[in-house]
Symmetry: C2
Subunit: 490 residues, 2 copies
């Protein structure tokens, strides 16, 4: 009997919420609300003191549910967890998420080990305790009310996090920035499902084109490197490691009861495994959104195109300091640019289209630069606030995809600019609010180029397409075999 | 006859706009709109082809205006600038802003020198050419329409910028973030008023408590250091220098026609002058808003208080890496915290109030830590998305001012969180969206502590109060003298 894989957490046939509450403001209340808003299958609220919550019939115990339950979510006090966990086992659920805190993270290792013993040998997968569970389009086990913490749109970044709080507030922030998520997994104390298995799972997940992770500790270093090394040639991983300093590691110890190793060891392991390291919370999704949508850079040769000269200078500085190259443009490109640009503008890299550039000038310049063989990646910085630019610039940048080069954008400004930035972001072009953030994202694409070079394919897109083709071919082969054996039997 | 000081650009008695336009979408149209929205004195639109624009009578030339004009704003084609400039001289205006571009920044030095010659010896101040002019509550010469580029609220940061585009988009971004500005000056090619004079002016400006500057080149290095050195002991200056790399300096050359020196030279000059250097666009106002509102840190001893353990770890890492200290809390503080915190929480620095903390727990912890003699600055990271926290947390943090210590906050999240962050920001507590940004701001406070130590007063607030008292005392003395001499004459 093979163990259920992690799909059961995202696509169960039915869900029971143990600890459902009638009281608005309580965790068990907003969890039920979020489940109802996301999950279309049957939901069984478990509460011994209620008969109905939010239009759903409740049951005193999961054992009273008159149907099978795939996934049980436990959100009761720590001391009651073993009791309801036993009932889940009796009910033969396939998977359990233990939201409840109060275990090893506060020094209470004994009770955590008891949970581990209870599920041992049972065909049950357990996520947690002390976690938020999962979020995807069809399943939301987060206890944060949606008016306080927004959920991200569907996207291509898989996000695993050891800390529920950090993970949840990050997705709240990136939702606001319009960045999408394929799957979110908060694994907490990880007594069964841990970061290694989740990594492997997201590595195979077709909806996930890049993986972002927040970790404080790693269960098994060599295994972590082994699993990651298999994934990174095909799918980028960005990791933010907390507890890198002695002081930070001390804080990890009080937070999770585990020892965090020194920063250098982690950085070295990340490099060995082909993982791109995020130095800050901001880097994590800045990098992930570029890596999930743009081809990596093999040699880091980039061009900057802007209608704000100062931004060209700031970007050139940041690019050079990040080890990127700003090569000279080819004679042909310069010739084409001269036709496009006003007389006084110099067609150099960074390309300053000057303040009166309109969308058409951007389009022509972008085409010329994208066709330049010296250039691999392009940073576009449109100042949409200028009188001459309008919403057409977003369409121009969206269409830049056809050149097959890496494109990232910087759009700095308030509401009006952000509106355009969101629209561009929705077309799969990563947008940043400062030139330096955009340049760092290009540097991450270059770093990932170093990971997959020289044998791997160029773009995540290609990989996904190739994989999908392989899968279809496999399926077709299987079907043919089935048909054949059918024929034989006839 | 002494030259007019820069006040004339901000508080003229009357303004003429040469190049006013009837056509929406044109620069001369939105400039007039923005002038009308900001300036309460008489405005004279100059346009030889119109009789009335937007309800105001127009004049064919400034010489036809039947009243005196303090400030003339010129927004016509470069080749016409000398003609209208001559008319301004005839009209005896006190100050001129030349918005028009097309001078030394595109290699056209001859025409720029002609402008310089024209105003030589006249009692006229000129800002520009190739600039945006100024913005303050009562004067807005920016040509960006307000629906495309928001204006910041009144604040305590004076901002001077060599690049109009960079400056304008930065204020658009910070307006969105709720950061205020005392005065904004875009000085462009600086043929008369330059960064040195503006620095001196903002250094004395009572409404300005910190100065932010974006520069590509400096006119006179030794003079720059001399002027800045006089300001920084009393008022912090943050500078973002563009064109630090060879590639960036090349771009400066095509942008402004001037040579930018190597990065090290600038960094050394900044240090010598007590200027805090911003490495990125994000740093510039991240630092300025902390420096304009919080006391500097003399020794960099900080504490972190959060209800999200992971954020404590990330902040501790960032703080240590920025060279800040996270000292142990005193026995007394620990004792007090023990009364406030749940049993399982460890009262250590970073202080983890745990996920179920409410505003009252925050208040008690904040008070205990603020009263700890080991602690100079506090980073508070409330996860307002948790069910137990509500808007009361903002009031608690606002009131933290009474302890006289430096307080910065990190609030990471979407709309709901941002709403609270904006409110807190409006009370003068700087708020950042990631722990690393907040920590860098604390490090800037520590760097500034090094500039003013050991003899200068602790807080910018104190300085302003002291200066105001001095000024009042001086005025009182003068008045007494006047009264005395009156008596004598009688």
């Amino acid at each position: 009997m093979p163990a259920h894989d992690l799909d059961v957490f995202f696509t169960p046939a039915s869900v029971a919420l143990i600890g459902a509450s009638r009281t608005p403001g309580k965790i068990g209340y907003s969890m039920l609300e979020n489940l109802k808003k996301s999950f279309s299958g049957p939901i069984y609220p478990i509460n011994p003191e209620a008969t109905e919550i939010a239009g759903l019939s409740t049951f005193p115990s999961i054992t009273n549910v008159p149907a099978s339950v795939d996934l049980a979510i436990i959100a009761v006090k720590a001391e009651i967890v073993p009791i309801v966990l036993n009932e889940c086992i009796k009910k033969k659920v396939k998977a359990i998420i233990v939201i409840s805190a109060g275990f090893s993270e506060i020094g209470n290792k004994k009770d955590e080990e008891e949970l581990q013993k209870l599920i041992k040998g049972k065909n049950i997968r357990l996520l947690g305790p002390n976690c938020l569970g999962v979020f995807t389009k069809g399943m939301d086990t987060l206890f944060f009310p949606r008016d306080k913490l927004k959920r991200p749109p569907e996207g291509q970044i898989g996000f695993l996090t050891q800390s529920g709080a950090v993970g949840a507030t990050i997705i709240d922030l990136i939702s606001f920035e319009g960045v999408g998520i394929s799957k979110f997994i908060s694994y907490g104390n990880a007594i069964d499902v841990n970061e290694l298995e989740i990594l492997g799972y997201l590595g195979k997940d077709m909806a996930t084109r890049a993986i972002a992770m927040y970790i404080e500790t790693i269960h098994d270093g060599p295994e972590f490197i082994k699993i990651s090394s298999k994934i990174t040639p095909n799918k980028p991983i960005v990791a933010l490691k907390a507890g890198k300093t002695e002081k930070g590691a001390e804080a990890v110890l009080s937070h999770t009861g585990r020892l965090a190793g020194p920063a250098q060891v982690y950085s070295a392991a990340f490099r060995q495994a082909g993982i791109i390291e995020a130095q800050t919370t901001q880097d994590l999704f800045d990098f992930a959104k570029a890596l999930s949508s743009q081809p990596p850079l093999r040699n880091g040769r980039v061009a900057v195109i802007t209608n704000g000269g100062g931004f060209g200078i700031l970007s050139a500085d940041a690019a050079i300091m990040a080890g990127l190259e700003l090569p000279e443009l080819s004679n042909e490109t310069i010739k084409t640019l001269k036709n496009v640009l006003p007389e006084y503008a110099v067609p150099k890299n960074p390309v300053d289209l000057t303040g009166d550039a309109n969308a058409e000038r951007y389009e022509a310049a972008l085409k010329a630069v994208a066709n330049d063989k010296n250039i691999e990646g392009i940073l576009v910085i449109p100042l949409v606030q200028t009188p001459e630019l309008d919403e057409k610039i977003v369409d121009v940048l969206r269409d830049a995809k056809i050149y097959g080069k890496s494109v990232v954008a910087c759009m700095m400004g308030g509401e009006y600019t952000i509106k355009h930035a969101r629209r561009l972001e929705s077309f799969g072009i990563p947008v940043y609010d400062t030139p330096e953030r955009a340049v760092k994202a290009l540097a991450a694409l270059r770093d990932y180029g170093g990971v997959i070079a020289p044998s791997a394919p160029a773009a995540p897109e290609e990989i996904v397409v190739r994989k999908a083709k392989k899968l279809l071919a496999k399926k077709a082969k299987k079907a043919a075999k089935r048909r054949k054996s059918h024929k034989g039997r006839r």
